[in-house]
Structures are given as structure tokens and as C-alpha cells.
């Protein structure tokens, strides 16, 4: 019986974690360094989620978009998923070899608000940046733009005008 209160406390802790705008549950998000290694090994593009502890619009995106089972499958299968805490002092290594904090990465990439979603090539080269709340359809459109290689020929808005959802 003693285990029950502990289990309830653990469950409460885990549930509390879901409203703190950490990465969405059930997705295989990894730290930046590990993501770069995985992307270079697999050749997959990187989906980089800049969140912030307590961030309202990250919370909304998690609840309303990343809760979609189809989106979860699409992004888990086709991207290396990286989560960065925009106020964290956790260190990472850039492709140049420079060691910086997660917050400093945000400053370098001008992550002025959260959430911000970056799509990167497997070597870490930025493809494009999408700030703010995004719908399931937005993420599906971004996926078509990135994995179809259209970003090499045109801007996102041009692509969406020519290839609407």
C-alpha cells in the first residue's frame, strides 16, 4: 500500500510536467548534440523545437497540434526531433566545434519568442524558421515543403501558393 501514494505522486509529477511546455509527450525528442549525430548518421532532416519553461503558446501547440496521432507518426518517422529550452544553461556543440548554451543558441538564431520551430538539413544548416503557434495542417505543409526539397527552389509562401493544402 505504501507504493500507492508514491505512484500517485509520480503520476502527478508527470502530469504537471505536461503543462510546463516541455517537449510534447510521446515524441522521441533528443538534445541538440545527439540530434546532430543522429541526423548525420541517418540523413534525416532535423526538426528543432525551441520551447521555454512555462511558455503559453508552446503549451497550446502541444495540446492542439502535437496531440494529433498522424502528425506524431509523420514527424517521428521522418525527422530527427530536437528540443531546446530557450532559457537553459545546458551546453551543446555547434557543427563548428564551438560549445555554447541552449540559451545562447537562441540568441544566435534570433529566437525572440517561443515556440519557434526550425527545420535543418542533416548537417545542421538552417532551412527555415517558423515562429509561434502552428496548426496540424501548418506542420503538414512545412513537411511537404522540406521533405519535397522545394525550399531549394522557392520560398515557403511561394510553395504554399502554388501547392495549397
Amino acid at each position: 500500500m505504501k507504493a500507492l501514494p508514491r505512484l500517485l505522486a509520480l503520476a502527478a509529477l508527470l502530469l504537471a510536467g505536461t503543462v510546463h511546455a516541455d517537449p510534447p509527450t510521446g515524441y522521441p525528442f533528443v538534445p541538440y548534440d545527439e540530434g546532430l549525430r543522429q541526423a548525420q548518421a541517418s540523413g534525416k532532416n532535423i526538426f528543432l523545437y525551441f520551447g521555454r519553461y512555462g511558455c503559453a503558446w508552446c503549451d497550446k501547440t502541444n495540446k492542439e497540434s502535437f496531440s494529433d496521432a498522424g502528425l506524431k507518426q509523420l514527424y517521428s518517422d521522418n525527422y530527427v526531433l530536437v528540443y531546446v529550452d530557450a532559457e537553459s544553461g545546458t551546453r551543446l556543440t555547434l557543427p563548428s566545434g564551438e560549445r555554447i548554451t541552449e540559451m545562447e543558441l537562441g540568441a544566435r538564431l534570433n529566437v525572440f519568442a517561443t515556440p519557434v520551430f526550425l527545420y535543418l538539413e542533416p548537417d545542421g544548416t538552417a532551412i527555415f524558421k517558423a515562429p509561434g503557434f502552428k496548426t496540424v495542417q501548418d506542420f503538414r505543409d512545412f513537411d511537404r515543403f522540406v521533405r519535397g526539397g522545394h525550399y531549394k527552389k522557392m520560398k515557403l509562401l511561394e510553395f504554399l501558393a502554388e501547392n495549397p493544402s
Binding site: G54, C55, C58, E87, A107
Partner: protein, 392 residues
């Protein structure tokens, strides 16, 4: 009209000398970082001024110091202070008679050592537990440190007195700053000495979002109950939707005048559409309470995010420094608080603005001069730079 102009007093302002290189010539793949808890990378002692930073000139991130005579330009060759596999986030204070105390994270633990232009003391481990983000303060011969100690999943804030005998430093027992059970991270503290002890501010995540909290102590052993520093606006669309728990605040820096005034600056995302703004709070009772939050930057910075705030208290007002990309690339910007609540127009200086990137300022007021260090990144690499200003 001429009479009116003649009747107006000339407005005094900060006048800066030419900048100087601190970390040597820029090199490809050399990455200097002027980062620390409270941005305490500058100190003065005796006839010398010092800047401490981290870079990879020896093949891994290590901590270095460069000394300069206060009365003449030019920094000496960098002195390596760290001795492990990697080291980060150094802070430094002056001990008098040309001696300095530096503290930093080395191989996952906080360490400290005394040094001068001619000698280097032994490196001591401040905490056998995993630890990081150390900050130092000194006044009237008293020295104190605070840092984050790993406690399970969280960094928890502790503080300890230090004693220095010649070139030897010794750490006293560390005490938790906040006695309540660890609930979440306590990060990036900043410590200031006052005439009644110490004031401290830190990032605290126990509320489900980051709050800035402050406390005071006479001896560094027992701290007052934490008090909130940043004001949280109520309402707004996110709150109405029941989303998130609060706006972002991060990287608080404190400065004291050695008497009763303590100034705090931090990054604050209460107006989140343009990223962080620089906010400030000033205490006139040794950090026991702070006045209302004040926006330190001017309106021309409103559309851009601000980063890396530092603060100094001068006889001419509290001075805040930060970087922002209002002119496309990051430059150093400063503002001076005149009287109560009135902050000047933002200003910058040659070498800390213009081509390249200029970011991560550190500030110190000492001996009638405002000392400023920052990181410059250009096509030929990066270097730490320094300039000193006078109220003219």
C-alpha cells in the same frame, strides 16, 4: 533663443576611450565567451584591472584572465586559470594589493583560485557535488560565494563564506539559500555585497515557470524568505486560454554600491512579441525590497529582442548594458538611470557597435571610471574587447 540655450546646462554624458583587445588577436575557430552568473567578468585590485573569460585556444574550453594596469592601456598575455578537461562561466573579484579571486565551473564542479600579475595560487574545489554557475561578492574584507549544487534532478542554490590568506583561498560550509524542499531548478544566481551583508537574486522554476527571486543575509548562513523581483502582468490572451503559467524572465544581474543600494537588471518577455526587454529594479534598503520594475531600454529598441544584461552602480546613476540587433547585427547598448525611474536614451560607443557582432557585455564601476568588456565577432574571428568611460 540664444539666451535660452546659454541658460541650459550642458548635459553630461559618458565619454569612452578607444577600445582595447583583451584576449589577443582574433583567430579562426577561436570562440571566446564572456558569460557567467551575474556577468561578473570584470574586477579591479591595486593597480590592476582584470577580465576573465572562456575560450578554446588550448583545444578545449578553458578559463583565462588578462590583466591591465589601470593607469595605462594594453592587456598582458592571457593567463590560464583552469586546469581540467573543460571550464566555463568564470567570475572574478578584487582582493586588494593586486590580488584577484576567480571562480568557475571545471569538469562539472565549481572551483576557485587566487591570482595576481605575478603569482597564481592553488586551485581549490568549492563543492565536491556536481555544481555550476558560481557568483562572488566582496566588501570590507568579507568574501562570499553562491552557486548551483546538483540535488537530484535540480540545481539548488547554496552559499558559503570564503577566506583568503595570501594566495590561498578556503571555502567555509555551504548552506542552502532557500530552506524549503527542492521543487525545481534554481539557476544563475547573482550576489552583491551591502553594508548589512549580502543580497542575492536567482531564477526559480518552482512555480511552473521562471520567477526571479531575491533574498538577503547578514552572514550568508541564514537567508531571508525569497521575495519576487519581476512583476507578472495579469490577463492577456494566453492566460485567458489557461495556457502556460507566466512570461519568460531570465539572467538576472545584481550590482551594489557597497552601501545600501542594490540594482538588478534582467531579460523579461512580458511583452513577448518582440522577445526579451531589459527590465530593472533598484533597492535602497540593502536588497530587502526593490522598487517597481522599470524598463531600462528606450523605445527604439522595442521591436528587437535584448540579450545579456549587465549592471553597474555609479555616482551618476545606475548603468545597464546589453546587446540587441536594432541595426541588423548585435551591438552593445547602454542606458543610465537618472534620479528615480528615468532612464536615458540608449547609447553605444565605437568598437562596440558597427561592422560585425558585438555582444555579451560586462560592466564595472571602479575608481571614477566605467569599465566595459564585450565580445566582438568579425570576419577574421572573435576577441574580447574592453573600453573605459568617464562621466564628462
Amino acid at each position: 533663443m540664444l539666451g535660452l540655450m546659454l541658460a541650459l546646462p550642458l548635459q553630461a554624458e559618458w565619454a569612452f576611450a578607444d577600445f582595447e583587445a583583451v584576449s589577443g588577436a582574433p583567430q579562426e575557430k577561436l570562440f571566446p565567451h564572456l558569460e557567467s552568473a551575474g556577468r561578473g567578468n570584470l574586477a579591479a585590485s591595486g593597480e590592476h584591472l582584470v577580465v576573465v573569460w572562456e575560450d578554446n585556444r588550448d583545444g578545449s574550453p578553458q578559463v583565462y584572465a588578462a590583466l591591465r594596469r589601470q593607469d595605462r592601456p594594453g592587456f598582458a598575455v592571457p593567463l590560464r586559470l583552469s586546469a581540467g578537461k573543460e571550464a566555463y562561466e568564470p567570475v572574478v573579484i578584487g582582493l586588494g594589493q593586486g590580488r584577484f579571486l576567480a571562480a568557475f565551473e571545471q569538469d562539472g564542479k565549481v572551483v576557485a583560485r587566487v591570482f595576481s600579475a605575478t603569482a597564481t595560487g592553488a586551485l581549490i574545489t568549492m563543492d565536491d557535488a556536481a555544481s555550476a554557475q558560481i557568483t562572488l561578492a566582496t566588501s570590507n574584507g568579507r568574501i562570499h560565494a553562491a552557486w548551483g549544487r546538483r540535488d537530484g534532478r535540480f540545481l539548488r542554490l547554496v552559499s558559503a563564506p570564503l577566506s583568503v590568506d595570501g594566495m590561498k583561498v578556503r571555502a567555509g560550509s555551504a548552506h542552502a539559500v532557500d530552506l524549503s524542499p527542492a521543487q525545481d531548478e534554481q539557476l544563475y544566481a547573482s550576489l552583491a555585497a551591502t553594508n548589512k551583508g549580502y543580497a542575492i537574486a536567482w531564477e526559480d522554476r518552482r512555480a511552473g515557470h521562471t520567477r526571479l527571486l531575491t533574498a538577503v543575509s547578514r552572514d550568508g548562513k541564514e537567508w531571508s524568505a525569497p521575495q519576487p523581483l519581476n512583476e507578472i502582468p495579469h490577463g492577456g490572451s494566453a492566460a485567458e486560454l489557461g495556457l502556460g503559467r507566466g512570461p519568460g524572465v531570465t539572467r538576472v544581474s545584481l550590482a551594489g554600491d557597497g552601501d545600501a543600494v542594490v540594482a538588478a537588471v534582467w531579460m523579461d518577455k512580458r511583452d513577448f512579441l518582440s522577445g526579451y526587454d531589459i527590465y530593472a529594479g533598484v533597492s535602497t534598503d540593502n536588497g530587502s525590497s526593490f522598487g517597481p520594475n522599470e524598463k531600462a531600454q528606450d523605445a527604439f529598441a522595442a521591436e528587437k529582442p535584448q540579450w545579456h544584461p549587465a549592471v553597474a552602480i555609479t555616482p551618476h546613476g545606475v548603468v545597464a548594458a546589453w546587446d540587441d540587433p536594432r541595426d541588423d547585427t548585435p551591438d552593445i547598448w547602454l542606458s543610465t538611470r537618472h534620479g528615480e525611474k528615468d532612464w536615458s536614451d540608449d547609447f553605444t560607443l565605437p568598437g562596440a557597435s558597427g561592422p560585425g557582432h558585438q555582444d555579451n557585455p560586462a560592466l564595472l564601476w571602479h575608481d571614477g571610471r566605467l569599465h566595459l568588456a564585450w565580445v566582438h565577432k568579425g570576419e577574421d574571428g572573435a576577441q574580447v574587447r574592453y573600453a573605459q568611460g568617464e562621466w564628462d
